[in-house]
Symmetry: C2
Subunit: 100 residues, 2 copies
């Protein structure tokens, strides 16, 4: 399992509309993607325009190759892209440890 | 529930030692803190020295007041601080939505 971590800055005042849009984009587009294993969206407390999107993928290539080079990417960006104030900063991570 | 999101850059070549230290710090120090509800540590794939620490707190003040101004903070920093290449960038988030 691989974590996609996207740091997103949106246009001011668009929090509610963006939250609706990203939920719809995840539910209708990303959830169809090969290797998709779940997603969470967090909204900033100190930085009201900052969101962190975390998507679990089965493999790195499910995101970087199958999704980004496939037909779903354009559909996704059409839904969430208009809200971005800057290109999202996206990197991938592996779980190093967990304490509950 | 509040998510503490810490973006951490460590000294090169210290990944294994840092992973051991942060796991130990979470298990022996953070897990004792008031309002602690779980933690995950992710290590970067593209950026080998980058880690993301995510801690779930019952309330924002459990982290910002009770923990940071209490005796556990010094114990925690003594364990993980020596690995930092820069001060961690810490902000707090709320869950906006989830798709599984």
């Amino acid at each position: 399992m691989i974590l996609e971590h996207a740091d997103i800055l949106i246009q001011p005042g668009q929090q509610a509309a963006f939250t609706e849009a990203i939920q719809r984009g995840l539910a209708t587009v990303i959830s169809q993607a090969q290797g998709f294993r779940g997603a969470k969206v967090y909204k900033g407390i100190e930085s009201a325009e900052r969101f962190v999107l975390q998507i679990q993928w089965e493999t790195l290539e499910d995101h970087t190759v199958a999704f980004r080079q496939g037909p779903l990417f354009g559909q996704w960006r059409a839904i969430v892209g208009p809200f971005f104030a800057a290109p999202p900063v996206v990197e991938h991570f592996e779980l190093a440890c967990e304490v509950s």
